[in-house]
Symmetry: C2
Subunit: 206 residues, 2 copies
């Protein structure tokens, strides 16, 4: 189905152009006009792929989440045991990769992180985006809680830990973002904080 | 100097109008025109108090930080020992109040939290705001690190803790904000996470 592939590819090209506009100029500039210009295509062509600015924003955010998940999966391959490639990764490694890919520590992660921060603010004034953003965050939170619960069941995290609270504390680590973005702390200091938190979480490992 | 008082008051009135615009419609709407309309004064009157939109934004953010600091000071009075009103508060109480006033848990804190989130994104595309935002965050981070270092020196936090990392982990708790704003977790769950983190930080207390 080459036509559908092309359709999807064009939407992704437009989404990446939107990310660049958000990253470099802010979401206030993410109009169909400015995104079309950034993508190097006509206003009408963008409208062919997205009926509204909102539809374009929602797709760009979903695509950002997908790309983050893909980067996580790619990174995890490096952690696998070559002798047992199908073994699941240690949950500490999994959480570390998930968290560090959510922080603006390299260009791709910075683009998706800025897209995500802008999307949350946009959600506060747009009911449809609010629902989408809430569902996306709920889904991501659910994945992290599942990892935490499994790690408790496997004796890797102490049974005295509350899974919901530990999940919230893990996701809170994305709060390092403004410190990194404004150059208040170095990326190394952010990674040290993430590692320190994970080390304590898994300190009761049997 | 009634004239200067009036000048300051008018600037604060405009700043509060700007917060409302940011909270309800987003920073993209925080133009001199929309803020003037929200404040119920003329465009020209706003320009009398602020030469540029940027000057207005910077003042509104500084005022938000001041108001947050004032709420922290107000809350701390409730923690004081009535028999020794001049005793400094316990650092755990101090940090708890600082952190909870940075989270969108009540209307005033929500207004300043949204202002702050929008300001960080604005800083990424405006060199002057970047400098101001970075200096403000550095200053706030410095205050927290001072509290952590003093608490270590006083034997209230274990000497095995690294003050810089602990400071970064405390500030990271503001990462609970999107979870609260999008209704993914309840305010009580956010407070439970903050309390859990503080309890562990002070667990080595002598």
């Amino acid at each position: 189905m080459p036509k559908q592939v092309d359709h999807r590819e064009r939407r992704e090209t437009i989404a990446r152009a939107l990310w660049r506009v958000v990253e470099q100029r802010g979401i206030a500039h993410a109009s169909v006009r400015e995104v079309a210009q950034e993508a190097g295509i006509s206003h009408g062509a963008v409208q062919h792929y997205f009926a509204t600015r909102e539809e374009m924003l929602v797709f760009a955010m979903d695509f950002a989440s997908e790309q983050t998940a893909r980067r996580v999966a790619d990174s995890l391959r490096a952690f696998g045991d070559p002798a047992h490639p199908s073994d699941p990764p240690h949950p500490r490694d999994l959480l570390r990769v998930m968290l560090t890919e959510m922080l603006p520590l390299h260009p791709d992660a910075r683009a998706t992180s800025r897209m995500s921060a802008a999307y949350v603010l946009e959600a506060l004034h747009d009911a449809n985006i609010h629902t989408r953003a809430r569902d996306g965050l709920k889904h991501g939170r659910g994945l992290v809680e599942q990892i935490v619960r499994q790690a408790i069941a496997d004796g890797r995290i102490g049974t005295d830990r509350d899974p919901a609270t530990e999940t919230n504390l893990l996701l809170a680590l994305t709060g390092l973002t403004p410190l990194i973005e404004l150059g208040v702390i170095e990326p190394e200091a952010a990674l040290a904080a993430v590692d320190q938190h994970l080390e304590r979480l898994f300190s009761g490992e049997a």
